[in-house]
């Protein structure tokens, strides 16, 4: 099976292909493949080359700085880190229950983020593959190509993202890296004018989101790839509310196996460390989380939109719940395992977020002014939320002087680490194995990685002027041939003296 592709028996005798940087994802990563002379794939890996050391350098900083500081982990979903850290800091000041207004403002900001992040991913990053084909011409296969050929769709994407960003700006003062969460609550009430401005366009956003779900469903139904591309079984993890509804802001941890059987349910997320550990592998700076009692071989899981549509019992908004039911019916009521179904699930969530924004804007609490509560100080806090890309864990310990002494962060994309590697291997095995490699085939690998909407945000990775190259290495480890993908996407053989 595909997990055999994790390690090659004789790596030095094989050809190495590197896809780097993976484009149209947020952040940087690279994929390497090791092939033999018949182009059989022996090893396929997604490497995360990022290392920033947040866990270390926030030590010694006062805890109230943390929500604003750690959101700099990510410019795509800074609100996620701001909120997860905000919830952890609430625990430090003993704010067990926020005021209704503060909690609703946080949820509003979070839904704004879901809307903008999911719109960005579908319209700006992923749609070119789905609309034009995985192996279409690379110069057309981007958002500018979409603007040229599907201008209405592209403009909707831009406007949906803009709306989500404006929701965030209204709550946090800035679209990216604002400040909203303070220990025990929020720093700003929403004015009636701000609320009314946001209300004006929400109906339109809901309608566009509905149409986007439909477009995506149609594209996937028409796709020859969708039922077979990167399909593999896995466990799934997310937060759910007490009644089993999907909840992005709060809830208990639920893990289901590949058949939908419960591994654990309604687990208090502050005890996450008794359920999830992380394995270090030498070839990636991103750790590999797994469910402890299943072990590192079998305990890995998927998070994010696909996982959430599989784990939750229902969505508490009307249109999105209807779409979720269609989604589950497509898998005959069972668990949906197709990688490309991530896109469908993501747009259902976008619709759910838009409906949720409308409901919150209609709620009188949203313009309340009672924003902060305080309680008894604690020295440890855990905050967990469902970020656009999946479950996000923040965990801090502080000393009596209010400075951070320990921190542990498991970001959403890290939770998908093993699954993304699995998708790369599955696609490599079924599409690339034994084939003469082309740019289009290599893009299949990127399509699989992109489906997870990974946020690899950080250190880039491009080897000088040759970002994509295939090298033929002989048994002594010397490069005897090399294929280079140029800036125009064309592959040319390049001889190199041994």
């Amino acid at each position: 099976m595909t997990h055999l592709l994790e390690t090659a028996a004789h790596p030095r005798t094989l050809r190495r292909i590197a896809i780097e940087p993976i484009t149209r994802v947020e952040g940087h990563g690279k994929v390497t493949l090791l092939l033999d002379e018949q182009n059989r794939v022996h090893q396929a890996r997604l490497h995360i080359v990022e290392f920033r050391g947040f866990e270390k350098f926030i030590q010694g900083r006062p805890f109230w700085e943390v929500p604003v500081l750690v959101q700099r982990l990510c410019g795509i979903c800074p609100v996620s880190h701001h909120l997860a850290a905000g919830k952890a800091v609430d625990m430090l000041v003993g704010a067990r229950q926020l005021t209704p207004t503060a909690e609703k403002l946080r949820r509003l900001m979070h839904k704004g983020q879901l809307l903008q992040s999911h719109a960005l991913h579908f319209f700006h990053l992923a749609s070119p593959d789905l609309l034009f084909g995985f192996d279409s011409e690379p110069e057309r296969r981007n958002v500018i190509g979409v603007i040229g050929e599907h201008p209405d769709l592209a403009v909707r994407g831009v406007k949906l993202r803009k709306y989500g960003q404006e929701v965030i700006r209204a709550v946090a003062g800035k679209r990216i890296h604002g400040s909203a969460c303070i220990p025990g609550g929020m720093n700003k009430a929403l004015t009636i004018e701000e609320r009314d401005t946001l209300r004006r366009d929400i109906t339109q956003c809901i309608r566009w989101s509905q149409e986007a779900v439909r477009t995506c469903r149609d594209v996937l139904e028409a796709s020859v790839h969708a039922p077979i591309f990167g399909v593999f079984p896995s466990n799934f993890l997310s937060l759910v509310r007490n009644d089993g509804a999907l909840d992005f802001y709060d809830g208990g941890l639920r893990a289901l196996d590949a058949q939908g059987a419960t591994i654990f349910d309604h687990v208090d997320y502050t005890r996450y460390n008794r359920y999830i550990h992380e394995e270090v592998k030498s070839w990636s700076y991103m750790k590999f989380p797994f469910i402890i009692n299943l072990g590192d071989e079998d305990g890995w899981y998927r998070v994010g939109p696909l996982a959430r549509m599989n784990t939750c019992d229902f969505l508490d908004t009307v249109f999105a719940e209807h779409e979720r039911q269609l989604f589950r019916q497509a898998a005959n009521g069972g668990m949906q395992h197709a990688t490309l179904a991530y896109h469908w699930a993501r747009l259902i969530e976008m619709l759910h977020a838009a409906e949720g924004i409308e409901r919150l804007l209609d709620d009188p609490d949203i313009i309340g002014t009672d924003l902060v509560v305080k309680g008894e100080r604690a020295l440890e806090g855990v905050g967990v939320i469902e970020a656009p890309r999946g479950t996000l864990f923040h965990h801090y310990k502080v000393d009596e002087n209010d400075v951070v002494v320990r921190a542990n962060l498991i970001v959403s994309t890290t939770n998908n680490n093993q699954a993304m590697n699995e998708a790369v291997r599955t696609v490599a095995a079924s599409y690339l194995d034994g084939q003469k490699l082309t740019e289009g085939l290599l893009n299949h690998i990127e399509v699989a990685v992109r489906a997870f909407d990974p946020c690899l945000s950080c250190a880039t990775h491009a080897l000088g002027r040759m970002p994509l190259q295939v090298e033929l290495v002989n048994c002594e480890g010397q490069v005897i041939d090399r294929l280079v993908k140029g800036a125009d996407g064309a592959c040319t053989p390049e001889a190199r003296a041994p």
Binding site: P62, W64, V68, L69, A172, G173, S179, I182, P183, N401
Partner: protein, 246 residues
């Protein structure tokens, strides 16, 4: 009006009235002309250490915060050369400390940041030094973050002359200068400082802060979101002048 008020000097071609004993800086600000400054706070004795308020008086440079106004002087302040020097000084202060504006609770109310804005500092010329400096969070109400200290000496002066406690002083030389606390352990918790001290209210940057106040003022409503420091300083100065001298 006293007869004194008829005395004037010329600042960038404009006649500035002054009272006897007034400094060039005070007279200029009272007349509505902003001179960039960091270590000076008109409520306390001037120190002339940051040199941002340097002006050219009759062809020679002086710190305007300590330079007495003299009738008939020719003073230049808003010149390309002086503004370039002010930008360089500000840039140097930024690279000599650890000023992480993005995550700093003082952002938006920080005089160093606001002064850099007023000077139009949009580039960076010097290597970042990334010095190792200690945070003192030992006190229950007050935190001293030396990363952000610009050695303006305001806390030293105010603790000595207003609070009469002498809690702070400077130690070391040149680039190694740091602020230290007078207590057996060297920590704020063991010093005489208290939350009501004037010394902890006037730090122009985020070095000396009250705990528990962070990020309470939302973006868009912070002092220098509302008005740039040049307008804000002049307005405050004039209000102070009006209150003191009518």
């Amino acid at each position: 009006m006293s007869p004194d008020s008829k005395k004037t000097f010329r600042l960038d071609g404009r006649e500035i009235p002054f009272r006897e004993g007034q400094t060039v800086f005070d007279a200029a600000m009272a007349a509505g002309v902003y001179i960039p400054h960091l270590c000076h706070n008109p409520d306390f004795e001037p120190h002339s250490s940051c040199r941002l308020c340097t002006v050219i008086v009759n062809g020679r440079p002086f710190a305007s915060c300590t330079q007495p106004a003299v009738a008939g002087q020719d003073v230049r302040s808003d010149t390309p050369e002086l503004n370039e020097m002010r930008r360089d000084l500000t840039d140097m202060l930024l690279v000599e400390g650890n000023h992480y504006c993005p995550a700093c609770e003082k952002s938006g109310s920080c005089r160093l940041q606001a002064t850099a804005y007023a000077l139009g500092l949009q580039d960076s010329h010097f290597p970042q030094l990334f010095p190792h400096r200690d945070v003192d969070a030992s006190h229950p109400d007050i935190i001293l973050d030396r990363d952000r200290c610009i050695l303006c000496g305001l806390c030293v002066r105010i603790s000595r002359s207003v609070d009469k406690k002498n809690v702070f002083t400077m130690t070391g030389r040149g680039i190694a200068t740091t602020i230290v606390v007078d207590s057996p352990s060297g920590l704020l918790a063991d010093s005489k400082v208290s939350r009501d001290d004037e010394a902890v209210q006037h730090c122009p940057v985020g070095a000396l802060m009250m705990k528990g106040e962070a990020f309470k003022v939302p973006i868009g409503q912070r002092p220098y979101d509302r008005a740039p420091i040049n307008e804000d300083s002049v307005a405050r100065f004039r209000a102070r002048e009006a209150a003191l001298h009518g």
